[in-house]
Amino acid sequence: MIAEIGLAALWLAAALALLQLVGAIFGQRPGGETLALLVRPAALVQALLCLLSFVMLLWVFARTDLSVLLVAENSSSQKPMIFKIAGAWGNHEGSMLLWVTIMALAGGLIASIERRLPDKTMLATLGAQAFLGLGFYTFILFASNPFERIFPAPMDGNGLNPLLQDIGLAMHPPTLYCGYVGLSIAFSFVVGALLTRNVTPEFARVMRPWVLGAWIFLTIGITAGSYWAYYELGWGGWWFWDPTENASLMPWLAATALLHSVSVLASRDALRTWTVMLGLIAFSMSMIGTFLVRSGILTSVHAFAVDPQRGTFILALLAINIGGALALFAARAGTIAEGERFAPLSREGALVINNVALTAVLGIVLLGTLYPLLTEAFGVRVSVGPPYFNPVSAAFVFPMLLVLVVGPLLRWRRDRFERIKAPVIAAVAAGVVVLLALWLIAGMALLPLLGVTLAVMVAVAAFLPLRGRSLKRLPLPVWGMALAHFGIAMALFGMSVDTAFTVEKLTAADVGETIAVGPWRIRLEAVEPVAGPNWTALAGRLSASYKGGAGHRLVPQSRTFWAPPQTTSESALLTRWNGQLYTVIGNATEDGRWQLRLWWKPFVPCIWLGGLLIALGGVLSLIGRVTRDLRRRYAVRKVTARRAEAAA
């Protein structure tokens, strides 16, 4: 019964999306005012119905209702509750329903609170959102129904991939999806503005918080995903340039570019066409990334097994949405008026470089991700990894970071170099000192060396725009910018130092043996069996001492799950202020020793701390924008009330 309610709610939500689309189309015409009135309520009700459907899916998973095919295939009764619920989106059908639910909720949210744009533009925006939604409803209802029944119901389910049985699964996909799908709002705003020829600074100000919100989610999602892969896979790496990672990086790059260009449009009325283009690209990247990966066209650790019919459906959906948006852009780009002018040396000029570089990196990642697909059409099988992605993207990221040192110091419209000479020289000097010192002492490889240098320069430069201003009166978005840029520096520092100075030790050790890894002495004290709710494990008891200090205890495990049968290694980590010790236990050798893989990774946590700082910067900025907006709205209401009073 529960599954049927979920399916019915989904059909009704699809019907309301259709109503919303029809209302938006005919509401624009004279005489269609009544239809237009339906659009906002339709969006809201659609959101609630879709949410109901999703809650029903969670419910069948929580109860492990094995008569539902999806539950039987992906869950099992002997699994902790949190993973039963999280398992609802750890598969293709469930993740699609999550996707469309977030999309409907976002649409319902703009329908209920966004009142700044002209009615016509808002109507077109909600119409575009309904159109996007309808495509995904169709896909779920006809090709990926999560509520399908199975008869007879099996005795127990297949269980969830053990790699996914982790708290990371509960948090990571919903966060990322909020980011992916949040960008659909920007997409719809842009389509609405293009259709009604209303690309204005006001439109940019309305769009900005939504872009910012989606970008914050993406940032957190990528950071958390990277850390999850780092400790769960047991390979000691934090970024593998795996297609799924690229799928989340590409929308992030586009959203970061959009975030900067939308600010230019909002404050200075420049870069109109470019901002519109980026708005379309950002969500297109969400769709390309998610669906190319999820359709199984590209295979990666994350890909769910999906049949080719779904793949075709997805490709058609992508072609309609992205092709349609680009065609609209081509048709209307000429009608967008030229924006305000600016000199090359100005805040706008620096942001143009930022945008161009980010877009170039986006193109590089996209090409690298799709290249294996391309060559396979000619019968050649290749894979593309770090040897391509690292140097080629650095060729654009590093110059961009140099501009980041200068850009935030510049004034809008035009500036003189003399005015910012002192702080720029200070930042560059810090960079040069670090560069020379590291080059002479440490003898690092080129990329990490440049990475650390730029990290120091950006870290210094991040707070320079605050100099000479009253810190108390400084608007929150400026704090947000400084913090986010500092986060970039911190993450880059972590990546470069880890790449250059990681110490790895792979060995087979007897119980009682001591192994040296960098500054650590690690003793294998014992190996003991442990049992969990749905696994058994062999746990290595390690005692690690840093430079002869007291022993810390680490217990890496090698776990064997039985539903489905699979072995995973659970790494054990020890964090110090200056790095992380990473330990993995492998198999027993024939002569009774134990394989151990140990890493000392200096400053590696900076990568994820940096990522969180970037997101925190976004949050500060968002709070600043929203409170200012609310205050203005309140003031406007007061003035109108007073005017009405005076008139009466």
Binding site: N161, G234, W235, L271, T273, W274, T299, V301, A303, F304, A305, E338, G339, R341, F342, A343, P344, V352, V356, A357, T359, A360, V361, G363, I364, L367, G368, Y371, P372, T375, V380, R381, V382, S383, V384, G385, P387, Y388, P391, V392, A395, F396, R414, L506, T507, A508, P564, Q566, T567, S569, V584, G586, N587, T589, E590, D591, R593, Q595, R597
Partner: protein, 153 residues
């Protein structure tokens, strides 16, 4: 008088900058992909192509029965990968995936050494129903049947 360009010219300059960046990125990407993409070979293809030592590549095939040896250090293994037509010796240091056994399918990532031994940096074995390395999926039907039979026994 002013360093500000006319609106039309400004737009032109921006378009030119964007085009130059696209061209530069495209060229760089093409160069990178040409040099850095790692090709997939089965043993007979590897011996025919004979990539230069150090060039990254992926080798897929069956682990020959009776070929697996563990070195005295306990973490280095030597084995032979074959596709029925040819075979290539492989050396790997690390913790092997649990489904890696003699007679099953494997994809090794690494490079061919000057001595003709393929140095693997990582091994992918047949995992479970949901995740099979793509290259194992694309093996001939007979090879696949053999792999599945061996790993499900």
């Amino acid at each position: 008088m002013s360093i500000l360009l006319k609106p039309k010219h400004q737009r032109l300059v921006l378009v030119v900058i964007a085009l130059v960046a696209i061209l530069a990125a495209g060229t760089l990407a093409a160069w990178g992909l040409h040099n850095q993409a790692s090709y997939f070979y089965v043993p007979s293809e590897l011996l025919a192509a004979h990539p230069s030592p150090g060039q990254a590549g992926r080798l897929g095939g069956m682990v020959e029965k009776g070929s697996l040896r563990t070195a005295p250090d306990g973490v280095t293994i030597d084995f032979v990968v074959s596709d029925g037509k040819a075979s290539v010796p492989v050396r790997f240091s690390g913790i092997v995936p649990d489904l890696f056994v003699e007679g099953s399918g494997v994809v090794a990532e690494g490079h061919l050494g000057a001595d003709g031994v393929f140095r693997a940096d990582s091994l992918l074995a047949k995992h479970d129903e949901n995740y099979v390395p793509r290259e194992l999926k694309d093996m001939t039907e007979a090879q696949k049947r053999a792999a599945v039979k061996d790993t499900t026994q």
